[in-house]
């Protein structure tokens, strides 16, 4: 048994030895249970237990707890120890509380009482014990009941240094757990001046506290900047003998230096020129000292010195204002890139990532490109390689993109699985961001799929299709490349998907070459068909139907595949359905319809691409585009397409639609085709118009739909009965809208003769609302065969308010505009009774959902809502200001709307009135 320090609780040492001598886990548990029983009986029965024994047993319990066992008694005895007048008993009591008693314990009240007693004891070692306990537990209750005394203790001239030190960090802990409990306003200046304290330990602890306070309230503590700079300056210019025991392996006060440098990162570069100069000098000195020959060979010396250096570089990067310092920092980090210490290489790569984002040092970072690439290839530790990847990504720009992407692709072949997915994404983003030549981009993405197909997410391969569709100049190249890639004996399913899309759209561009004739293309794709998942097979089937349109000469071969037993009786209902539908389509449909089918996919992808363009790195974000294939949302776009081009369901705003009567007919056809493209959803069967099954259907028309439900939301169920569910999914963007209509068959039968029709109101046809983006009404008729054709007329919830965009403005701007709209007809005021509970949060959600903003701080009454929005139409934008004032006693609302167009004020008023 090793010697036990101090008084040596012999019983404890014996117990620990026993545990260590246990041969098995079971023996250990047995020994522990025996001890627990013993302690329990002592605590229960033995009234004469003295302080020493209590201390010993509490200590044993602590040890048992630290071995990983639960302790459910002894807490009270530990609390008793707190009021002992023996220091060691008190100390063990506090240790038990700190380690074992949670902040929520019932005993906390007693503990806090003991802490209070010790704090006023005027005995510094008892005060310190109490402070340690507060800093370890850090509960709100403590902050509330004793926290208020700490600032005084911290700043009083009578407190000795060791207590000040501990008080500083105790206050920090309490501030973190319950910042509002201890107001520090009156102490601010005195706390800041602790930076000037004689005692380095006090400054060390106070700097951490001040940094935490600065983060919450930078302005109040602004004066700490100059104090911190001068303190830092004194340290960095000190020789290592000056600071005596605060020098660590020849480095003067590294912990304090780092804390001060951290503190300064909360502020912009100092405004005062003298402070600023002094800070620059400090930073230069730190950079210089890092270059001096080491004063010791010990790793502690270099670690401490470089810890300060890295923190100084962090500050230089944070200020981002001194090109000279930034470039110097970069050069010094460059030396670390090949250092023998793995830790330094890791940190240098990490810091350089930040330097690469500064315009001043970006070029300097690029000089190290070769070293970083070598690191990527040769580092043995994956976490270092990961940093190298990050840095390559950060230093990439147009000038070196091709090389960096090339190197990353090469490395990807052997990269660790843990970082592959991230690398794939990074390569894809870089290739797109810096592509000058899109054939290069296509090559990169296809290579990605080839090398790491499993890690290529949908976002990545959707993106390449979107780009190819939108760029005429690469379509032929893409078709050729993907055709070649597909010839590999084993190619990834994602390659088949991309191939299916691109050849389906642009296969004709390479069909002239006999080596890639239509039939060869088709056979190549179909050779992969059986190896693919149902999802991909569905996609390939769509490609085949597109081929029928592109290459009528191979129609027979495709029909043969579509009509094969294997497909028509496929257990996968989606595939079966597609085959039947496509087969029928290919026999009955005119070329016109097929062209339409072709165009739908194109348009959908184009529009997705448009959304994407707004955020170039959207591949990283995914989200809304995570859709399967071209989706069901028909395009609604202001589209002056020539009448001959088939346009999928056009919901046009600001443009009279009914220009050609032929279009309506086509619309219904297109809508049906969209239905056939819908991806499978669980228990949702999308049906189609050419089914030949007999089914007996009844419609119980329970039309309980409330179009007003959609005023404040975009998606939902428009209509539902026992047989059918009709859902709406809509998206609005300024004056454009697209509205998707989903049909769900709730029966287990197929619907027959399902058709849908879109009827536009006369007002739109005649262009009456031409300038105002008013509303389309659509009706869908449904017939069913059993002599009982059903017809369902539904209104679509496309209303004027959907084209609102929330606007932000300050109080002054709001009232200026409000007053400017003072003509009586520009205002619409409604006073009405509340239909729903006047819950502020619910009302807020409704206002936001309606498309209005919530402007804070304009109306002094917090219950009132003040909003503004812009209504977008194609030709103009109309500003709208809204005030909604609930009166909770009367359960009434007063709604006031002002806008430049009287009819808009009124329309919005009518709509909003129904909502609250």
């Amino acid at each position: 048994m090793p010697t036990v320090k101090g008084d040596g609780m012999r019983g404890l040492a014996v117990f620990i030895s026993d545990i260590r001598n246990c041969k098995s886990k079971e023996a250990e548990i047995k020994r522990i249970n025996k001890e627990l029983a013993n302690i329990r009986s002592k605590f229960k029965g033995d009234k004469t237990l003295d302080g020493y024994q209590k201390k010993k047993y509490v200590c044993k319990l602590l040890f048992i707890f630290l071995l990983g066992h639960d302790i459910d008694f002894g807490h009270m005895e530990a609390v008793n120890l707190l009021s002992s007048n023996k220091y060691t008993e008190k100390q063990i009591g506090y240790l038990f509380i700190s380690v074992l008693v949670g902040a929520s314990s019932d005993l906390m009240k007693l503990v806090i009482q003991s802490i209070k007693n010790d704090l006023v004891s005027r005995n510094p070692i008892h005060i310190n014990l109490a402070l340690h306990c507060m800093a370890n537990v850090g509960s709100r209750e403590m902050a509330d009941s004793v926290g208020g005394d700490i600032p005084k203790l911290l700043t009083s001239g009578e407190t000795i240094d060791s207590v000040k030190q501990i008080a500083g960090l105790t206050l920090l802990r309490l501030q973190r757990s319950s910042p509002e409990m201890i107001p520090l306003g009156e102490w601010t200046s005195r706390i800041i001046h602790l930076l000037n304290d004689q005692h380095m330990g006090v400054v060390t602890s106070a700097t951490s506290l001040i940094e935490a306070l600065v983060r919450k309230n930078p302005d109040e503590y602004k004066s700490c900047v100059s104090l911190a700079v001068s303190r830092l300056s004194r340290i960095v210019t000190a020789s290592y003998t000056d600071l005596q025991d605060y020098t660590y392996y020849f480095v003067p006060a590294p912990w304090l230096s780092v804390k001060l440098l951290r503190l300064l990162q909360n502020y912009p570069p100092p405004e005062d020129p003298s402070v600023r100069t002094r800070l620059t000098e400090c930073l230069e000195t730190i950079l210089n000292k890092a270059q001096e020959p080491p004063k010791s060979k010990k790793v502690q010396h270099s670690n401490a010195k470089n810890a300060v250096l890295f923190e100084a570089i962090n500050l230089i990067i944070h200020m981002d204002s001194d090109p000279n310092l930034l470039v110097r920092a970069c050069n010094q980090l460059g030396q670390f890139l090949q250092h023998k210490e793995t830790n330094l290489r890791y940190l240098a790569l990490e810091s350089m990532c930040l330097l690469a984002t500064s315009e001043f040092s970006h070029e300097a970072v690029k000089k190290h490109q070769d070293t970083v690439i070598t690191a990527l290839k040769t580092e043995r530790d994956v976490s270092v390689r990961q940093r190298a990847v990050d840095l390559l990504y950060a230093m990439c720009d147009r000038s070196n993109a091709e090389e960096i992407v090339g190197e990353m692709l090469e490395y990807l072949e052997s990269a660790d699985y843990s970082i592959r997915e991230e690398m794939v994404l990074k390569v894809a983003i870089l290739a797109e961001k810096y592509a000058v030549d899109y054939t290069w981009y296509v090559d990169v993405i296809l290579n990605l799929i080839r090398i790491a197909g499993d890690y290529v997410s949908e976002e990545v391969w959707y993106r390449v299709i979107q780009i190819v569709i939108n760029r005429d100049d690469v379509q032929g190249y893409a078709a050729k490349t993907v055709f070649e890639a597909l010839q590999a004996p084993a190619c990834h399913e994602n390659m088949v998907k991309v191939g299916g899309y691109i050849l389906g759209e642009f296969g004709n561009l390479i069909a002239g070459d006999p080596r890639s004739s239509p039939l060869v293309q088709f056979q190549l794709l179909h050779s992969k068909y059986h190896l693919c998942s149902p999802n991909t097979r569905g996609l390939l089937l769509s490609t085949y139907i597109k081929f029928i349109n592109l290459f009528p000469e191979i129609k027979a071969s495709i029909q043969e595949i579509l009509g094969s037993d294997n497909n028509l009786r496929n257990p996968d209902v989606e595939l079966q359905q597609r085959c039947i539908e496509y087969l029928q389509l290919s026999t009955v449909a005119s070329p016109d319809v097929l062209v339409g089918l072709h165009n739908i996919t194109l348009l959908l992808f184009r529009s997705l691409a448009k959304l994407k363009k707004k955020k170039p790195t959207a591949t990283a974000e995914g989200g809304e585009e995570k859709e399967k294939e071209p989706r069901t949302i028909p395009q609604a776009q202001v589209n002056n397409a020539e009448p001959s081009a088939p346009v999928p369901l056009q919901v046009s705003v600001g443009l009279p639609i009914g220009r050609s009567t032929a279009r309506n007919r086509r619309l219904s056809v297109n809508l049906k085709m969209i239905c056939s493209l819908m991806p499978p959803l669980p228990s949702f069967f999308f049906f189609f118009f050419l089914m030949k099954f007999e089914a007996y259907l009844f419609f119980y028309l329970t039309i309980i739909f409330l179009i007003s439900r959609f005023f404040c939301k975009q998606n939902g169920v428009l209509f539902e009965n026992d047989l059918l569910q009709i859902g709406i999914k809509a998206e609005y963007r300024q004056n454009l809208a697209r509205v998707g209509v989903f049909f769900g068959n709730k029966t287990t039968f197929q619907f027959t003769n399902f058709t849908s029709n879109l009827v536009l109101p006369d007002s739109i046809k005649s262009g009456m609302y031409k300038n105002r983006g008013c509303i389309l009404c659509k009706c869908f008729k449904i017939w069913c065969q059993s002599g009982q054709m059903q017809k369902l007329n539904l209104k679509l919830p496309v209303i004027i308010s959907k084209f609102l965009e929330p606007a932000e403005m300050n109080s002054e701007a709001f009232f200026t505009r409000w007053k400017a709209l003072s003509q009586p007809d520009q205002e619409c005021q409604k006073i009405f009774k509340a239909q729903f509970p006047q819950d502020t949060e619910q009302v807020k959600q409704k206002v936001l959902g309606f498309g209005l903003s919530i402007l804070q701080g304009i109306d002094p009454n917090p219950d009132n809502f003040v909003s503004s929005a812009i209504l977008h139409t194609r030709n103009q934008q109309v500003g709208c200001l809204v005030r909604l004032e609930p009166n909770k006693q009367m359960q009434m609302y007063r709604l006031t709307i002002r806008s430049t167009k009287p009819e808009i004020s009124k329309a919005l008023g009518d709509l909003l009135e129904t909502q609250f």
Binding site: V4, I16, Y87, Q91, I92, S208, N306, R380
Partner: protein, 162 residues
């Protein structure tokens, strides 16, 4: 700020744990298990830093013991290594060439030492002399209490003043 510090043996036995923020017991146990496995699997020449959830882990091995600290994103890794080293130095000085057994048998001392050095996840006192002086004062009190001398505590404040 340091979130927690763990000391464990090469066999994966936890020897000391210090949590600087409130964590539920369940999370403490899970975290400990995860990190012990993670750190023990690392090879000698590897980097001492690793990213773990939204924290950074800094670890170092001394003989049979691993010292493992979790710090926040913007904390200084190299300095954390030296924080560990300073703590080891303190233990070493106090126990006279410390070994794992010293920490097992005197776990409470190891805690007291840590409290004098780190508090609330921040370094409180970097001077080795000052920390050891505080601990020595505690030991002296302990001895005197053992000898049964009372009433001495009020006079002891001089040990803690500079």
């Amino acid at each position: 700020m340091m979130q927690f510090m763990l000391l464990f043996s090469r066999q994966g036995k936890l020897r000391l744990q210090k949590w600087f923020s409130a964590y539920p017991d369940r999370v403490k146990k899970k975290t400990t298990r995860e990190l012990i496995t993670l750190v023990l699997a690392r090879k000698p020449k590897m980097c001492s830093f690793l990213e773990w959830k939204d924290l950074k882990i800094v670890y170092k091995r001394y003989a049979s013991l691993y010292f493992c600290c979790a710090i926040e994103r913007d904390d200084n890794e190299l300095l954390t290594l030296e924080t560990i080293h300073r703590y080891v130095e303190l233990l070493d000085k106090y126990f006279g060439s410390v070994c794992e057994l010293d920490i097992i048998f005197n776990f409470e001392k190891a805690y007291f030492m840590l409290d004098e050095f780190l508090l609330g996840g921040e370094v409180q006192e970097t001077s080795k002399k000052n920390v050891l002086k505080a601990i020595a004062a505690q030991d002296l009190l302990q001895e005197q209490e053992l000898e049964g001398s009372r009433g001495i505590m009020e006079d002891l404040s001089f040990f803690l003043t500079d």
